[in-house]
Symmetry: C2
Subunit: 389 residues, 2 copies
């Protein structure tokens, strides 16, 4: 395990600051509260961290009022853990109760706001989901006539995109664990090993290196290159002439790394070497462009310009990187249509990709934090030439 693991969790001051920033924006936008129900948002305002979200059975709610601490409205099974948080007002029910899974509690909480024709924020926009039954949502709204629902996606996104020093410390730690794990791959992988076993070995190594988990391990290996970057592994053995790619999201204390590495097995084709070189230089261009004041579009264009040396298709991924934090992928997106202005302490992936040869693709990815003069690497930079195992 890496020796320098930071403290787990956050000081109460961190949650106070997050809440204060939210409340400042809420005041500017005329919002009397925020109703949140997704894992990262509940965790962002409370510190509540549990794998129990993997069960779809129970909804969980946090309400951020215009002033004062957030209020939790959660299943009783989570009460003991939530009581360890900085919250004072924790309301629970014996979930699951399909006919009333928190809806009465939420109605009681929000009725005074509805009576005053107040406006509250709910996440309704890009990259969000309604993490409660749609029928329950419809019943809740019907029970609160007068309450105005605004889309708080941009508000929450603007808070979460810029990371605190404590968040960056966690992200740097898991990126270091990811780098150490990738560093071991040439020793762990060899010709003849089925891809499924490569992935299993990678996961075990990530845990050995100190990751809490390695929930996201995808990739591919095939002759001269791969054609797809989101498939589960098969039993095909790694073969001389393959390009192997592993892309991983490992976690530590609830924060993700998300980057990949490519290797040639035994020998590398000229086409694969060339693709790798272009992507490596595209990433360099991304690093230089990742400075405050530039936009995600600028980042996208800086990388695209290099990639256009051999591919002008734009690829099938739709973007060349994204935000990173409590989720494997967060806003913003490095694409032409995203004009988010970069600011210091945003944590991002740079993920240029290209198509080459006969239906092949290659993807590179690094994790960075936006510094005053450009991107600062959190992942250990990939080798400048396609490594051969």
């Amino acid at each position: 395990m890496l020796p320098d693991a930071p403290e787990r969790g956050f000081a109460t001051a961190e949650f106070e600051a997050r809440t204060a920033r939210a409340q400042t924006l809420m005041a500017q936008q005329g919002l009397a509260g925020l109703l949140l129900m997704s894992e990262p948002e509940v965790r962002y305002f409370t510190g509540f961290r549990t794998l129990f979200w993997q069960s779809p059975t129970r909804p969980w709610f946090v309400f951020v009022p215009a002033t004062g601490k957030p209020v939790a409205v959660i299943p009783e099974i989570g009460a003991a853990l939530m009581r360890r948080s900085w919250l004072d007002d924790i309301r629970t029910w014996a979930a699951p109760i399909p006919e009333d899974d928190g809806i009465s509690l939420l109605t009681d909480l929000l009725a005074p706001l509805a009576a005053g024709k107040a406006r509250i924020g709910v996440q309704k926009g890009h990259e969000t989901t309604l993490r409660m039954p749609l029928g329950d949502w419809e019943r809740l709204i019907a029970a609160l006539p007068g309450l105005e629902i605004a889309d708080a996606t941009d508000l929450v996104r603007s808070l979460r995109m810029v990371k605190s020093p404590a968040e960056i410390e966690k992200l740097a730690h898991i990126c270091a664990i990811g780098s150490a794990t990738f560093n071991r791959v040439p020793d762990l992988v060899s010709e003849g090993m089925p891809l499924e076993d490569v992935f299993r070995t990678f996961r075990r190594e990530a845990l050995t290196q100190g990751a809490d988990d390695a929930p996201y391990v995808v990739g591919a290996a095939d002759q001269g290159g791969y054609a797809d970057c989101i498939s589960p592994p098969d039993r095909r053995p790694i073969t001389r002439g393959d390009v192997l790619m592993i892309d991983t999201g490992c976690t530590w204390d609830g924060y993700f790394c998300d980057f990949d590495r490519n290797w040639a097995i035994g020998t590398a084709s000229d086409a694969a070497r060339r693709a790798y070189d272009v992507l490596w230089r595209a990433t360099e261009a991304g690093l230089a462009a990742a400075r405050p004041g530039n936009t995600c579009r600028d980042l996208f264009q800086a990388m695209s310009k290099v990639i256009s040396e051999i591919d002008t298709s734009g690829g099938d991924i739709g973007r060349m990187g994204h935000g990173l934090g409590m989720q494997l992928t967060e806003q913003p997106s490095h694409m032409f249509g995203d004009t988010t202005v970069l600011s210091e302490n945003m944590v991002l992936t740079l993920e240029p990709c290209l198509n080459y040869g006969d239906g092949l693709m290659m993807v590179h990815e690094e994790n960075i934090v936006v510094g005053p003069k450009g991107g600062v690497l959190l992942s250990t930079r990939a080798a400048p030439e396609l490594p051969v195992i």
Copy 2:
């Protein structure tokens, strides 16, 4: 690794049968189609399996028409993988496009149905979420005047609750892997080991035993027993007099096991032994009651009756087990309010729990398939007395 891994994936006939059963129910309920967007439902009808769902950025849709094969409406990044499925009609867009993430494609697909005032099913009920932005959903519905939306939660749930022989084979395999992993715990865990390292070691061992992943590893350890069953681990060392509980959801080929084990460290208190004995016998009662024709309420009452020997509170978990399959927890729920009739080939957890001592709780869990005469264990039955490490 266990030697008897079944085939991965499913024969096309399995998807044909699932679709035919859905279409029979749709005809009975007057539904012209099902619009599905959650990972398990998309996978159920297509076989599309990828970890990429961990990224919240992109929505994915499958439409099951009244006749014929399902239609996929998905981001281009998933096209290569979806083309390996049994589907013919795969429509893609270059997601992410926040201003139109599949909405035009869905509108085109559904407009003829809306023109005919047709009724389609969407999952709106218990244990479901809207896995797309709420704002996009509202825009989609507004663009399709005349289209009636019905809640298809019960329809989909009735299909998924009863497993096919191929599904049961996968579930039996991952339960065997889970059992083999738990079996190794006494050799891997010892006094002085921080709980965090116990969990990490458990995850590594599950992978060694052949799991694709061990996404859900929770539990607790404390003197005489634990007070909470969903928390992440801390660095507190395992200490003589602790009761240690590990609860895991491991996966193989997209199917979960979900069961736990308890151990005493060094020595066990009489109270902990007694709690364990009661839970073990409650599980026996559950096994006997898990026969076709009985209801989830019957299962709950059979287990509750034994538990009432020392606890009549009903616990904080809200139920005593649930369905199991592509998700860690699925419908139904073993609780008084769930009168789902059990039928052969339902795969379930039995999860009795109780409170004892000063704020302590204990949870047992086994995985079973409903056989003609009662529950048939998929997990290797826990020892009848609290094991001491």
